[in-house]
């Protein structure tokens, strides 16, 4: 389960190729890429700064992936999250899951990004024409978790 927190951008194709490399049991790869919008809650965004809690972020992501692995029969999972200054159109996060069949990979990928958004210690600060402000957590992110309480 590769987990990386980095300032550098990532190449989705290369990451997916690496994740499924030499594993002929993999029949499905599902990936999610989060990107920076230029508009959020009516504010135009010129830049975004991502802060995290080094050490805890990696631990939290490891726990989330382990939980996904216990719930679904997946081969592997990858999370890359960028930190530092980002611009609109930039990639922020990649979640990718491999499995024998697509159903497990789709569910596990959505589960991982849903939990990342409420459990992994990462914070966004947006730069707008009115000044910089920290992004508030969304109730919809908590609501997204309720579908996993099986």
């Amino acid at each position: 389960m590769p987990i990386r927190i980095q300032t550098a951008d990532f190449d989705v194709s290369a990451e997916l190729a690496q994740l499924r490399m030499e594993n002929p049991k993999v029949g499905a790869i599902v990936s999610f890429v989060g990107t920076v919008r230029d508009l959020n809650d009516g504010h135009s965004i010129s830049q975004m700064e991502l802060e995290h809690y080094p050490g805890m972020t990696e631990k939290a992501l490891e726990t989330i992936i382990t939980q996904a692995q216990t719930r679904w029969d997946i081969a592997d999972a990858l999370v890359i999250h960028r930190v530092g200054p980002l611009l609109p159109l930039d990639q922020i996060v990649l979640v990718a899951v491999t499995s024998a069949h697509r159903g497990e990979a789709f569910k596990a990928c959505e589960y991982i990004i849903d939990y990342l958004k409420t459990e992994a210690p990462l914070w966004k600060k947006e730069q707008t024409p009115e000044g910089a402000h920290w992004v508030d957590a969304r109730d919809s992110d908590d609501t997204a978790l309720t579908k996993w309480q099986l």
Binding site: P121, L122, W123
Partner: protein, 85 residues
Amino acid sequence: MKIQCRFFASVREALNETDETLELPATVHTVGDVRNYLRERGGVWEEVLGEGRALRMAYNQVMTTPDTPITADCEVAFFPPVTGG
């Protein structure tokens, strides 16, 4: 008891503090007690760590609740609800 305390994002910015080693009195037993101990400094500390503020806390880098006991040399962190992804 001595512990390491860390602050992140809007909490860090408002307190103008990233981390601090605390020498705690014997009356401080839990993560919630640490929060209250810091609040007693008043001013911005009471404002940022006060009741009703959406605050998350971690004990040794795992998200936790106020009733978690602290241990010598542990790491306690305070930060706002997370917004990554």
